[in-house]
C-alpha cells in the first residue's frame, strides 16, 4: 500500500462501491432496454382489445399454427441437427471448418435471403416442387414451407449446442464405460447421451424460440397458409406474419393487442420450462454436470 501512489486508488476502484455501482448501472441499462419495449407494447392497446384479440378465432388459429409448425421444426431439427453436432464434436474429417461455417450461415444472413433461397429451390414447375407436392408436403404458401424455413434458420442453434454438449463428454468417462463392458453403441446411449442431454435440450429450446419468432423467410415462402397436401386446417398466417400484416395495414392497436397476447403466452411457456427445471419435473438437475 505504501509504494506506488496509484495502487490504493486502483484497489478501491476494483473492489469498492464504484465498481459495484458501474456493474449495476450497466446491467440495469440493459434490463431497461429489454423491459421498456415490452412495457410500451403491453400498454399501447387497451385491455379490452387485448382480451378481444385473445378470443379472436383468427388470432387463435395463427397462434396454434405457429406453435404447431415450430414444434414440428424442433422435431425435424432434433432428428437431423443432433447427429451433425455429434459428428462435428467427435470426428475429424476434411472440410470440417467449412461445414461449421455453413451451419452458422443461416443465423448470420438476413432471413429474407434464406426464404429467397428456398423459394428458388422449389419454384413452381421445378422437380422439387413436383416432388414435394406429390408426397403431400407442398412448400409454397403451405405450413410445410413454414416448417422448412423455421428448421433451416433455427437448426444451427441445435447443431452448436449439441456439438458443445458432446465435446464436453470426457473421453475417459467413455473409455471407462467401454472397459466395463459397454459396446460403442451402448456407451453412447448410457453415457454420452445422458451427459449431453441437458445441453442438447437447451439448444432445442433456443431452436424453438428462434423458430417461433421467425418472420423474414416465411414472408417470402409462405405468407399465407392454404390447406393442401397433408394440411387441411383453415387459411391462416403465422402469428408473426399476421402481426406484420396488421402493422402494414396501419392497425396499430390490433397489432399491439395481438402482440400482447402472444408475448404473455410466450412468457408463460418459458416460465413453465424454468419452473419445471427447478422442481425436478425434467430428467436433469441443476449441478449434475458440475465437476
Amino acid at each position: 500500500m505504501s509504494a506506488g501512489g496509484g495502487t490504493p486508488v486502483h484497489r478501491r476502484w476494483r473492489s469498492g462501491p464504484y465498481w459495484l455501482a458501474l456493474q449495476i448501472a450497466l446491467s440495469g441499462s440493459l434490463l431497461l432496454l429489454l423491459l421498456l419495449p415490452i412495457y410500451a407494447l403491453l400498454t399501447y392497446a387497451p385491455l379490452s382489445r387485448i382480451l378481444a384479440a385473445a378470443q379472436n378465432a383468427y388470432v387463435r388459429e395463427a397462434i396454434w399454427l405457429t406453435l404447431y409448425a415450430s414444434g414440428l421444426a424442433v422435431l425435424v431439427t432434433a432428428l437431423l441437427a443432433v447427429p451433425l453436432g455429434y459428428l462435428l464434436a467427435r470426428r475429424r474429417f476434411p472440410g470440417r471448418s467449412i461445414v461449421e461455417a455453413l451451419v452458422a450461415l443461416p443465423v448470420a444472413v438476413p432471413h429474407l435471403m434464406v426464404g429467397l433461397g428456398l423459394f428458388f429451390l422449389v419454384l413452381p414447375g421445378s422437380p422439387l416442387y413436383q416432388f414435394t407436392n406429390a408426397i403431400g408436403l407442398p412448400v409454397y404458401d403451405s405450413i410445410w414451407g413454414v416448417v422448412l424455413v423455421m428448421a433451416v434458420v433455427s437448426a444451427p442453434y441445435t447443431v452448436l449446442a449439441s456439438q458443445l454438449s458432446f465435446q464436453a463428454v470426457d473421453d475417459r468417462v467413455l473409455e471407462a464405460a467401454r472397459s466395463l463392458g459397454a459396446g460403442g453403441g451402448t456407451a453412447f446411449i448410457t453415457v454420452t447421451m445422458p451427459i449431453a442431454f441437458r445441453g442438447i435440450l437447451a439448444g432445442l429450446l433456443l431452436t424453438w424460440a428462434r423458430a417461433v419468432s421467425e418472420v423474414g423467410g416465411i414472408l417470402i415462402l409462405a405468407y399465407t397458409i392454404y390447406p393442401g397436401g397433408l394440411y387441411n386446417g383453415p387459411v391462416t398466417n403465422t402469428i408473426s406474419v399476421y402481426i406484420y400484416d396488421l402493422f402494414q395495414a396501419g392497425d396499430l392497436v390490433d397489432a399491439a393487442a395481438v402482440s400482447s397476447v402472444f408475448l404473455l403466452l410466450a412468457f408463460v411457456l418459458f416460465l413453465g420450462v424454468r419452473l419445471a427445471e427447478r422442481s425436478g419435473w425434467v430428467p436433469w438437475r441443476r449441478g449434475d454436470l458440475a465437476p
Binding site: 468417462v173 473409455e175 467401454r178 466395463l180 448410457t190 454436470l289 465437476p291
Partner: protein, 344 residues
C-alpha cells in the same frame, strides 16, 4: 484369474512411438509402470485396455492372443486418469453399471454388497461431484470390481489423495490382489506406494522400456536419473550438470564414473580424519536430526551432497559453514543411462 503377457508390444499415437514393451503378470501379481511425464505410461495402459491399436507384438491372456479384441471384450478393469466416473449417475448407479450391462438379475444385491465392502453405503445416493477424492477413488474401484475383471489397470491411483487416503487405497489394492487374486497394473509417481504394492516394475522413457525388474533390481542398478531419484537416491547428478561444473576435484571424479546420463551415489560416509583415499571436503549447508540419523547437506564444488550420519552424532551439531570430510565407496556409485532394454 488369468495370467497376462504382453510381448514386444508397440503402438503409435500421433508422433509418439511406444515400445517394444514386455510385460508379464500372473494371478496375485502387481506391476508398477514408472516414468516421467510424456514417457508413454498412459499410452501403454490405453493400449493394454484396447483403446489404441497395437502396431506390433501381441497381448496374451492365459496363452490366448487377444490383441484384436475390443475394449469391452477384454475384461480389464481400466481406471483412467481422473477415474472416469459417470457424472450423471449416483454412486449406486456407477457401481451398478457393469452389472446392468450384463443384465445381472441380482444387480441391486451385488451393488449393495460392493458398497458395503468399500464403505460407500452411506453415500449411495450421492453424485460423484459431491464426493471427496478418496470416496471417488473407492467408487471407481468398486465399479471396476463389479465388472469382475481379469486384471485391473489403473492410471495414477494415488492422484489427488491425502496421506491417509493414499495409505488406505494401497491397503485396499493389496487386498484385492491377495484375496481376489486380481492382477494389477498401476501407473504411479509415488515410490513408497509403488514399492508397497508392486512386485515388479517397468520403467518407460520416451516410449522405450528402460528397465523391468524387482525393487531390488531398481535399487541396485538404477537405469537413469529418473529411476534413481524414484527409488530414493538423493545424490543424483545429471551428466550436463557435471560437464558444466569444475574440471577437477569431486566433480571430475564423478564425471569419470558417470554414464551417458549421469551418476547416482549411495550414502557417502563422513570420515573423521584426512588422508583416506577418495576423500573429499564439503561445507555444511544444513544439519537436521531425524529418527534415521543426522541428515547433513554439504556443498562440494557447486554440487549438493546429502548424507545420513548414524547415532551417536557429534554434539554440538556441526556448525553451518563448517568443513567436513567424506568418503564415497566405489560400490555405491551407479552409472546412469548405460543399459538399454529389459533385464531379469
Amino acid at each position: 484369474m488369468s495370467a497376462w503377457r504382453a510381448e514386444q508390444l508397440e503402438t503409435d499415437l500421433d508422433h509418439f512411438h511406444l515400445g517394444p514393451v514386455d510385460l508379464s503378470l500372473g494371478t496375485r501379481e502387481a506391476v508398477a509402470v514408472l516414468g516421467s511425464s510424456g514417457s508413454g505410461k498412459t499410452t501403454l495402459l490405453r493400449t493394454l485396455a484396447g483403446f489404441l491399436p497395437m502396431h506390433g507384438g501381441r497381448l496374451l491372456r492365459d496363452g490366448e492372443d487377444i490383441s484384436d479384441w475390443l475394449p469391452e471384450e477384454r475384461a480389464l478393469g481400466y481406471v483412467p486418469q481422473g477415474l472416469g466416473l459417470f457424472p450423471h449417475r449416483t454412486v449406486f448407479g456407477n457401481v451398478r453399471y457393469p452389472l446392468e450391462l450384463r443384465g445381472a438379475a441380482d444387480a441391486d444385491l451385488r451393488t449393495n454388497a460392493l458398497l458395503e465392502r468399500f464403505r460407500l453405503a452411506p453415500l449411495a445416493r450421492r453424485r460423484p461431484s459431491r464426493l471427496s477424492a478418496g470416496e471417488r477413488q473407492r467408487v471407481a474401484l468398486a465399479r471396476a470390481i463389479a465388472a469382475e475383471p481379469e486384471m485391473i489397470i489403473w492410471d495414477e491411483p494415488w492422484q489427488a489423495l491425502d496421506v491417509g487416503a493414499r495409505h488406505e487405497l494401497g491397503v485396499v489394492l493389496s487386498e484385492l490382489r491377495e484375496q481376489d487374486g486380481i492382477p494389477i497394473v498401476v501407473v504411479t509417481h509415488d515410490p513408497a506406494l509403488a514399492f508397497s504394492l508392486a512386485d515388479s516394475f517397468v520403467v518407460l522413457d520416451q516410449g522405450r522400456m528402460r528397465l523391468s525388474g524387482s525393487a531390488t533390481d531398481l535399487l541396485d542398478r538404477p537405469s537413469d536419473p529418473f529411476v534413481a531419484r524414484f527409488v530414493g537416491y538423493e545424490n543424483v547428478y545429471d551428466r550436463p550438470v557435471l560437464e558444466a561444473g569444475r574440471a577437477h576435484g569431486f566433480t571430475a571424479w564423478l564425471l569419470d564414473r558417470a554414464g551417458p546420463e549421469g551418476v547416482a551415489l549411495g550414502n557417502p560416509v563422513i570420515v573423521p580424519t584426512t588422508g583416506v583415499p577418495s576423500t573429499w571436503e564439503g561445507v555444511v549447508r544444513s544439519a537436521r536430526p531425524t529418527p534415521e540419523g543426522l541428515r547433513l547437506e554439504l556443498t562440494v564444488d557447486d554440487l549438493l551432497v546429502t548424507t545420513q550420519l548414524p547415532r551417536p552424532w557429534p554434539d554440538p551439531l556441526p556448525a553451518l559453514g563448517a568443513r567436513l570430510r567424506f568418503n564415497v565407496a566405489e560400490a555405491t556409485v551407479h552409472r546412469l543411462g548405460t543399459r538399454r532394454g529389459g533385464s531379469s
